[in-house]
Symmetry: C2
Subunit: 452 residues, 2 copies
């Protein structure tokens, strides 16, 4: 049922998952230099069409790969991602590559310090392959990237380059971020796995701040196991992010690979935006429900949640306006009309409405907690209205993500289906707040069930 | 130099400080019942004029006193406040007394659960003497309480009853709260000690929420040692207050009683509101500076802080409007014109201005941290423009407190001086964020220096 990206040749190191590659590197069957050379080769082959990279330097990638191999040979604490190249969305500060946040005001910006998530990747042995294209300030105005499955279609956004680079086999995994639908949507459009863990699990220190309430770090891969591997590396506390907290280490991979003790029950939630889903998506979900039989039940969203999209909009516009004020002050005219319109709206929001919207988050969470506690292992719902729309002037509609982002629930999209035109269609699973490892386990069960 | 409240007779148990009374109770020289009877007697004598209590029940007080004596006799973990009666501002939920938050909408409200601070007092062995009068919702509209030094004068607000009850010897200590100047101002007007510890040190769970950024729990006493004693009991973590955090226990009393290793240097800061200070206050500060000689230096407030009063106003009006919405919805017409005006203004605040004001708090804190690190042990500044103003229709001007409340610095007022008319004048000391025990030590040094 899964779609194969046209650009992937198969069989070369570039096509390995991160977990497979890390295992081979650890066992001495593969070097980081070989892996990185294979990825460089892939980039040379396909990136002319895809344009996934904002910054990419072959020599910088090679140097890091040699250092990783050196470290592994020395036997000194090579981490779980030793020698694995990672793509990093260009809103994460990096101390080697520039970080322009996809906007023209910050052209040539070279931060000195790695974002916390980047530092965690490096500490785990990973190397930063390059910076992937983001939409302008991770909002709607698109970058140059195209969908690897068909360059006439959008890869989705805002983490466009990360999703496309992973889909095209240029890197096994990549970092992205989601404030509305910026991980789940592009992952679904590009036919890869995308994971946005619970709000506050991964520190956002050193990334372009749009909204403290809504910003999430997320990531892309070509296997569920890789999502678990990255979660193990990236979940943690950082004093720069007040929404993180010290936690006991969660063995994400171990839990993800367990059999569920009882067969999961999924809640199929259409949300008030179901009418936006196209025929492809509706048919695919019809099939999926047949496949899953009694393991899935249709559940109505509780009425109080129907305004959630409005609350999301108020919070996002308000906090983005406050956070992007410095860009506006420095170079208003260099910002896209879409972003200027957002800021103009955000300036007019009443604090009273903003605070009320913020207060709805814990209220909604209490309702979802109850739903999960009483019966359901996860919610199953579309990640997007359909396959990637044609054209690269828009990145598609995030409506099927906004609610889950607002409440900070963990969400995964799996590339399990495809549309009439052969483009990938995702399936989104949404879990209980803080139960990220179990969501991975449920996702694995779903994948096996669908593929069997 | 200190003023003696007219109402205090002296010599009876009601005139003991909490620390003295606790010591006598521990040593078996005094029972809680004797202490509480003495306080009841005082209330009968003076409260007709002062009207410090919103709810007071002699029998409920006696019952708790008997239970405390029983507990002490049984030898089972009587805490540091065993048998000590405490006055509690009527915005703290109490499971025995009603809690009306000083407004007409919540008449007859009887919460089931104690506020966290009340529970901490009870766990330390204290008993709740009664609920003290607060202004309407701890804002400006005054309650019935009068200044014990002269009933024609305001006791200050919003913690009017707590300050007056302690000043008149009806209880040795009392709880209050400060969102602008609601602990420091009434303490100064009533001639008692007032302490508002660093923001986030004392949990606010179960008190009427006005502003997460600005609300502080504070308290009143007739000695510095009692402030330290209460701090030891009340500082702590509560999961209901996200601004608190688990901390190591601070031995406030021990530190407060230490000699400073070197003589402190105080920064005398006039603030942009100095012109509001009356002749009494200006003369008293002139004398104080002569007494302290080279230990005090006049310091100009950094220019960026001059807008702090405006930021304070924006945050207070905005958050109060959001927090008091349920009262407005239930009984708009039962609210005072002052409170309705505040809510009308608060509804119009732009979220953009509100978020900008919130962001100034850490920026200002960084500047104050630097000032304290480089040279000064504390800031010395008036707690109010002068002695308690005549009339009880207003609770006086909080301008000399707003800045310190905004930045969340610990503040103490000491009843060290008096005005021409014999009414008390306070001296406010403001310390570094989180260095509350040292501020108490500096306060003790100041008191000894002034009284010697």
């Amino acid at each position: 049922m899964a779609a194969e990206p046209q650009a992937i040749a198969g069989g070369t190191p570039a096509d390995l998952t991160a977990a497979e590659a890390a295992k081979r590197i650890e066992q001495g069957q593969l070097s980081s230099v070989e892996l990185v050379e294979s990825c460089i080769e892939r980039i040379r082959q396909v990136d002319g069409k895809v344009e996934a990279w904002a910054f990419f330097d072959e020599e910088l990638a090679r140097t890091q790969a040699r250092a990783a191999d050196e470290l592994r040979r020395s036997g000194k604490g090579a981490g779980p991602l030793c020698g694995i190249p990672v793509g990093v969305k260009d809103i994460f500060d990096t101390s080697d590559y520039p970080t322009e946040n996809g906007n023209r005001v910050q052209k040539g910006r070279t931060p000195r310090k790695d974002a916390a998530a980047v530092a965690m990747l490096r500490a785990a042995g990973a190397l930063i392959m390059g910076k992937t294209v983001t939409t302008e300030c991770a909002y709607y105005h698109p970058g140059k990237t195209r969908n690897p499955h068909n360059p006439e279609h959008t890869p989705g956004g805002s983490s466009s380059g990360s999703a496309a680079a992973v889909a095209a086999g240029m890197v096994p995994v990549a970092l992205g971020s989601q404030t509305n639908g910026s991980v789940i949507r592009p992952a679904a459009f590009c036919g890869v796995y995308g994971f946005k863990p619970t709000h506050g699990l991964i520190p956002r220190t050193g990334i372009l701040a749009l909204s403290r309430a809504l910003d999430h770090v997320g990531f892309f891969s070509r296997s569920l196991e890789d999502l678990a591997l990255l979660a193990e590396v990236l979940v943690g506390w950082d004093e720069g992010d007040p929404d993180t907290q010290p936690r006991a280490r969660v063995p994400f991979r171990e839990v993800a690979l367990e059999e569920p003790p009882v067969e999961p029950v999924l809640a199929f939630i259409k949300t008030p935006h179901w009418d936006k889903a196209d025929t492809d998506m509706k048919e695919a979900f019809g099939e999926l429900r047949e496949t899953l039989g009694e393991r899935v039940e249709e559940v109505d969203l509780f009425p109080s949640a129907t305004d959630a999209w409005e609350w999301h909009r108020i919070i996002m516009e308000t906090e983005m306006t406050a956070n992007l004020r410095h860009l506006w002050d420095k170079g208003e005219k260099k910002l896209s009309q879409k972003l200027r319109d957002l800021i103009a709206r955000g300036r007019e929001t009443k604090a009273f409405d903003y605070l009320r919207a913020l207060r709805m988050i814990p209220a909604l969470n209490a309702s979802f907690d109850e739903m999960f506690e009483q019966r359901y292992d996860a919610i199953i719902t579309p990640p997007a209205p359909g396959t990637a729309p044609k054209g690269i002037k828009s990145t598609g509609d995030p409506s099927f993500c906004s609610l889950w982002t607002l409440v900070g629930l963990p969400a995964i999209t799996l590339p399990l289906m495809q549309g009439e035109n052969g483009m990938p269609l995702g399936v989104q699973l949404v879990g209980r707040r803080g139960f990220d490892a179990r969501l991975l386990r449920t996702a694995r069960w779903l994948e096996q069930r669908v593929q069997s």
